[in-house]
Symmetry: C2
Subunit: 440 residues, 2 copies
């Protein structure tokens, strides 16, 4: 017969509040790792069954790192249930979320796909989608760089372009198109992709495809604004532009993109930059789920408005953080750093209230809870050729030393031991043997 | 001014005979590695830009090894040109091969895709396709296991089946289907896949998906013949059957498959084995290119008939080896071992004649060339749980010792230094941290 203590523990377990977390990015994954899962009945819902360590995503597009070295399966976090699904709606009266299964056992949709999950607390960390500004052809012909499937598509396209440029029946005009790579947007993702591509071209392409191919490759960065890396210190931005110019990476600022076609990018002045690979990274926009929610949004960005406690004011028990949320009084950029600090904060709030069945629903303004405060540490970007830039309040730096800092900065709690072993191993492998160019 | 010697060398280089090699499998890849590429103008044509180390292919379907650890890009072999294309025909009068580009820069086919490559010598090592015996539904619903794309599809399907079995809206009947994995065919590939799947289920699935899922998983091997591993010694075949039975892997022999559907395998007696993943491996058949060639074929298998020198009798300068060729007088099985020994032999023949512009065209029956002789070393298969079987003339063995032999047997010249480092690293990683279950 179980002891009274065991019975009480079982009963407490049985009425753990149901905590539904939507999303497995920087905000969602950090939150479920940090929250006391013994005190809450945690259900994670996301179409993506893994966390992506996005600062290294650009490295996987050309094989400096393999895809699996920068991801963590959600299930690595024990004591939770994971449903692979897209959340399509929230019913705050019933306290349920509507989901559409996104497993792809079969390609078609003849299986049952809809289901509903009840919640006591709902944490929305669903992220954002790539901003296209309504430019025609972006979805059809450009490639984004937000997740592993994107990186894999880019890697395949690069290899197919290089190979097709070697095929005997291909003419000079098409070859120029095939070997012209265009990046739209001048933020850190774009710069890092251009930098990694440059590394690959200079370190590997010559050996495998011959000098002729290397000499014909053109990399172009198109930015609508006045400068690239606009969020960085001006000296660092200018340093990067000079570095890119010295490498024949063309940086064109103040350029409007009219449309993207299969054969290149058409600019505002009617001219065309020919290209068969256009990588598009011009910031983020609200996803359909967030747009559809019947709560207050930020007019400009479409993000959900949240209080300084990250709660959604008109929806008791609902929280939002990361790229899908913003506090009007102190708007923060859509970065991993912000998402992660918010997740840590919110997990602390939940853990604080774990013995009383969760935070008070309806108002967090109790004396026990302090509002969220963001501490900006540093902005980092890899600029190619063993060089990085770092921008913090204290230090603005660039070069090889910063590169070493950039690499070691990733030795944080976000990388599992497994990947702490894998990542340097891949770096060493790429350095020693070159990057793999096979396609499949 | 260049010396007379240099001029002579340049002139000799200019009239190097053109040697076209079709295929990048065991036969083609070994041949181009071994042939003196300074003496021949080597062009390799294949839809696959890499060699696959097939004995470890089953390991990649469940993530014991990553895909890139068992492949070598063709371009790793220097001093050759590589065209990524399907060869669709040979014109022996003009001495040309017709090709269709298989790079996929765009999905559609609006680009120029056809081209022709002239040859002085043609080495056909194009391999074979999976044998389906005309059973309906195999191409549509079953998965083959011949290359990396196949292995990747199987890995994705397994993970999606496991995840969908955890989704809340899925009923018991569908869950049984999702967790029933069927292998058709009882050869080494089938046995190794079933064994690797068993390892994954027992070592990883419980930890990530829970005990319930593990207990519901069924693995079934269907074989039309009297026994599985029919090409092995009878004692080893029986050992494997006993091993599989002890593990609840169902082995059904003497079973005819009537058709494969989305929901399972229909047998000759009308009963259905429900399954959402059917792996089909029942031997090989001739590919369309080989069937279409206007030379003599083996009536039963459709393979090209070759002489004991691996030359195609009615086509001067044309050789065929590996799975696409057979010598009627001494038919050999379609194995990596045969293909590789043939490739080594043929490269030696070409190297022998390198100073006189290649082997005599039309007849190899000169005193200088000895016919090809096959030496059978051993048949190996992994049977799961750290156990392998080995069948050679001298030794018939099984168990852990054989497993160690199985692993070390792969430390041959077929694995690059890069992969000699990667493969044990992945084995160690899988042993220490488990296999990765993320899908993308």
């Amino acid at each position: 017969m179980p002891s009274t203590g065991a019975v009480a523990a079982a009963a407490r377990l049985a009425r753990r509040p149901r905590l539904v977390v939507v999303g497995t990015g920087w905000a969602g994954f950090r939150f479920v790792r940090d929250v006391l899962r013994s005190a809450y009945d945690v259900v994670v819902i996301s179409p993506r069954d893994h966390f992506v360590f996005t600062p290294l995503l650009a490295s996987t597009t050309i094989g400096s790192l393999e895809f699996r070295a920068i991801i963590e399966p959600v299930r690595i976090v024990g004591d939770l249930r994971f449903y692979e699904a897209e959340v399509t709606g929230v019913d705050p009266a019933e306290k349920t979320v509507r989901c559409v299964d996104s497993t792809r056992v079969f390609d078609n949709e003849e299986q049952s796909r809809s289901f509903t999950v009840p919640y006591d607390y709902l944490v929305l960390a669903a992220g954002a989608k790539s901003q296209t500004f309504g430019v025609p052809g972006v979805y059809e012909h450009a490639m984004f760089l937000k997740n592993i499937a994107d990186a894999r598509r880019i890697r395949q396209r690069i290899m197919h372009c290089l190979q097709r440029a070697c095929q005997p029946q291909v003419g000079d005009e098409e070859r120029r198109e095939l070997l012209s790579f265009v990046v739209v947007g001048g933020g850190p993702t774009s710069v890092e992709f251009a930098a990694e591509l440059y590394d690959f071209v200079t370190e590997d392409v010559g050996r495998w495809y011959g000098r002729d191919i290397v000499d014909s490759i053109r990399i172009t960065v198109l930015e609508a604004g006045r400068t690239i890396l606009g969020s960085f210190d001006r000296a660092l931005s200018e340093y990067t532009v000079r570095l890119f110019q010295a490498r024949d990476i063309e940086v064109r600022t103040g350029v409007a993109v009219k449309q993207v076609t299969k054969r290149g990018v058409e600019l505002g002045d009617g001219s065309v930059v020919p290209s068969n690979l256009v990588v598009w990274s011009t910031g983020v926009a609200a996803i359909p789920l967030i747009q559809s929610l019947n709560w207050e949004h930020d007019k400009r960005s479409g993000r959900l408005l949240v209080s300084e406690y990250l709660s959604v004011p008109s929806a008791p028990g609902v929280y939002a953080l990361g790229d899908c949320a913003v506090n009007e009084k102190e708007p923060l950029p859509c970065t991993a750093q912000v998402a992660q600090q918010q997740a840590k904060y919110l997990a602390r709030v939940f853990n604080q209230y774990n013995s009383v069945g969760g935070p008070p629903v309806g108002s967090q303004e109790t004396t026990k809870t302090k509002p969220f405060v963001y501490r900006h540490l540093a902005s980092l970007a890899y600029v190619g050729g063993w060089k990085s830039i770092a921008d913090s309040k204290v230090v603005k730096s660039s070069g090889l030393g910063t590169w070493l800092f950039w690499r070691s900065a990733y030795w944080t709690t976000n990388v599992s031991i497994r990947n702490k072993i894998l990542i340097p191993m891949y770096w060493f492998k790429a350095w020693l043997f070159g990057r793999d160019i096979s396609t499949f």
